[in-house]
């Protein structure tokens, strides 16, 4: 990685945020709504990328962190009538706590065992949601009422079901997480994570405590994914067990691989691209899983670095 002037990456990221802001005023209704959803899910992918891209830990269970946020926010609104900020905070707290516990257990393993362990914990989480169907709504899920999804800040109140407010809230969350990941990645801590990915033994020998560094990364990653889940529950008003299934652990992996692992903007590009591919192809075939499958195989075979990873390698070495 070559050291470039620090202003360039920040200018690029602020430019992307400004572009997304401007798009809000020109996009027609359908794509406007779709992009809001994509931004929320891109946050999920960014959280996944934190662990997979920068630390090199391939988890097959991140759906549990997303759904911890989803249910943490959704259930407190639905059953306890909490207001929006409190519910969002509850979602974050659930995700962070779960990530801490899972990290403490799963980080004892490495490689293939880590993938299987995370997948199994996610499966347990999924089955627990189904088992307590009387509270969680099981596989039918719950719909959060419109009246509960109003954000009151001082004297102003924002209705999160309004498309513009929803888009702007999604953009705000997306921007915060994007800038936070950029800052983390460029910090000393981010470089330690990359060092662990490249050679854990050597990093350990140089005196870094790799276990606690990895544990912090798991918690940060889990919390970002939970933020995405909590925002999804509050913005789109649906909480269901399908978000905890194995498929939602695979999707962020696909998005990150496609966009480019260990690039800050890769998750957004991957999510955007995949969402539109499925959206367009579902017009003439219902077999979208086939496309997901073929995309996964082609990616690992020919583009292991993803779209942005390839661009960075060929042309733009300074891309964070």
């Amino acid at each position: 990685m070559t050291e470039a002037s620090p202003t360039k990456p920040y200018a690029l990221h602020l430019g992307v945020i400004a572009l997304l802001f401007a798009l809000s005023f020109v996009l027609p209704g359908y794509h406007h709504g779709l992009l809001a959803r994509i931004m929320v899910l891109a946050v999920f992918a960014m959280g996944y990328n934190m662990l997979f891209g920068y630390v090199g830990l391939l988890s097959l269970g991140h759906a549990m962190f997303f759904s911890a946020g989803l249910y943490g926010a959704g259930l407190t609104v639905y059953h306890l009538g909490w207001n929006v900020p409190a519910a969002f905070a509850a979602g974050l707290a659930c995700g962070a706590l779960l990530a801490l516990v899972i990290g403490l257990l799963a980080l004892r393993t490495t490689g293939v065992a880590f993938m299987i362990v995370t997948m199994m914990f996610a499966q347990v989480f999924y089955l627990v949601i189904l088992y307590f169907a009387s509270w969680t709504g099981g596989d039918q899920g719950l719909v959060v009422q419109q009246a509960a999804r109003v954000l009151v800040l001082g004297s102003a109140s924002f209705d999160l079901t309004n498309p513009t407010v929803r888009y702007m809230s999604a953009l705000a969350l997306f921007s915060i997480v994007l800038l936070v990941t950029l800052a983390i990645v460029r910090s000393r801590y981010g470089r330690v994570l990359v060092a662990i990915r490249e050679n854990e033994e050597r990093t350990k020998m140089l005196g870094y405590d790799t276990f606690s560094n990895k544990l912090i990364a798991v918690v940060v990653s889990g919390t970002i994914c939970a933020a995405s889940g909590a925002a999804y529950a509050l913005l789109f008003g649906y909480v269901g067990s399908s978000f905890a299934s194995v498929q939602y652990s695979i999707l962020p992996l696909l998005w990150v691989l496609l966009g480019g692992a260990a690039t800050t903007l890769g998750p957004l590009i991957g999510t955007l691209f995949m969402y539109y591919v499925i959206d367009i192809t579902s017009g003439f075939t219902s077999a979208y899983l086939l496309i997901v499958g073929i995309a996964l195989i082609l990616l690992v075979l020919f583009f292991p670095k993803g779209i942005l990873g390839t661009i960075r390698q060929r042309w733009l070495g300074w891309l964070p």
């Binding site: 393993t109 362990v117 499966q123 089955l127 088992y131 073929i294 690992v300």
Partner: protein
């Protein structure tokens, strides 16, 4: 029914599950042991076996036993051929990198599942058992076919064990598993061994599926439970250990049969999955396995 006979029935059902599970898990375990590849698409090879068994047995008219026997021979061969092609086209090009192959086999899982849905459809379809003899026990009658599944599976397991320990092919496979580089240096075609093992693993899953399909039905989503259970069995038995795999399959099959008769199946699955994850965290080599190299 009293508790005793009820428990016997649950145990018999559990043994049928164990028999099929042992074969499926053995395939997964061989592929992992020799190639170090975690085949997430293994359950789909199982499903393909069942779907092909339905297709073959309905295409052949006459006595159900003829169609069933044809399926028992042809379905594993077709599944093995498909696995061979997948191995040559994808896994070999990835140089069997553990993480890349997991992503690639997830891709295969989706492709096979979607193709089965497109061409076979969402219905569950039955296959007629080759014979319908009922064995009368003092408390209840029990399907003779189910008992023959247990016997067939035991026979196949012994045969696999003999091949692995008593033949040249088995020796070559074990040498590759032990140290593939040294094996290559001694003139073993490691590349072809990998292809053969991957096909063999898929065929074992397909045979298990053909055996079970007259009892349960063929459905395009039927590969998911065997995949998870096989993972559990392979982990508890120790990755790559044949004896451990069989012992663990009997253990899991019996407890699954007995627990789901007396308790909620979801709760049984939660407890089993959680315990297995804990085994993997605290005893990464399984309960019977030895430390891998």
């Amino acid at each position: 029914m009293h508790f005793g006979p009820h428990l016997l029935l649950a145990a018999l059902e559990g043994l049928v599950t164990s028999a099929v599970l042992a074969l499926t898990a053995l395939g997964l375990s061989l592929v992992f042991g020799v190639m170090r590849v975690v085949n997430v698409a293994h359950g789909e090879f199982f499903m393909l076996g069942a779907v092909l068994a339905w297709a073959i047995s309905t295409a052949i008219s006459g006595h159900p036993a003829v169609g069933f026997l044809a399926a028992l021979v042809l379905a594993p061969l077709i599944v093995g051929a498909i696995a061979l092609v997948a191995e040559r086209l994808v896994l070999r090009r990835l140089h069997y990198n553990p993480e890349a192959t997991i992503v690639a086999t997830i891709g295969m899982l989706y492709i096979i599942q979607q193709l089965a849905l497109t061409f076979y459809g969402p219905e569950a379809r039955p296959v007629e058992p080759p014979f319908t003899y009922r064995i009368l026990l003092p408390w209840f009658g029990y399907s003779g076919y189910k008992l023959s599944v247990i016997a067939a599976s035991a026979l196949l397991l012994v045969a696999t064990w003999l091949v692995l320990t008593r033949t040249k092919i088995g020796l070559v496979m074990r040498a590759t598993q032990y140290d593939s580089e040294t094996a290559q240096a001694f003139g073993i075609p490691v590349d072809r061994v990998y292809a053969g093992v991957f096909a063999l693993g898929a065929m074992l899953a397909a045979i298990a599926a053909v055996l079970i399909v007259p009892i349960s039905q063929a459905h395009y989503l039927m590969g998911q439970d065997p995949l998870l259970l096989s993972f559990i069995v392979v982990i508890i038995g120790g990755l790559g250990s044949l004896r451990g795999t069989v012992v663990a399959a009997v253990l899991i099959g019996l407890s699954d049969g007995i627990i789901s008769v007396f308790f909620s199946p979801t709760l049984a699955k939660i407890i089993a999955t959680f315990l297995v994850a804990m085994v993997l965290v605290f005893r990464p080599h399984g309960l019977f396995g030895t430390a891998s190299r």
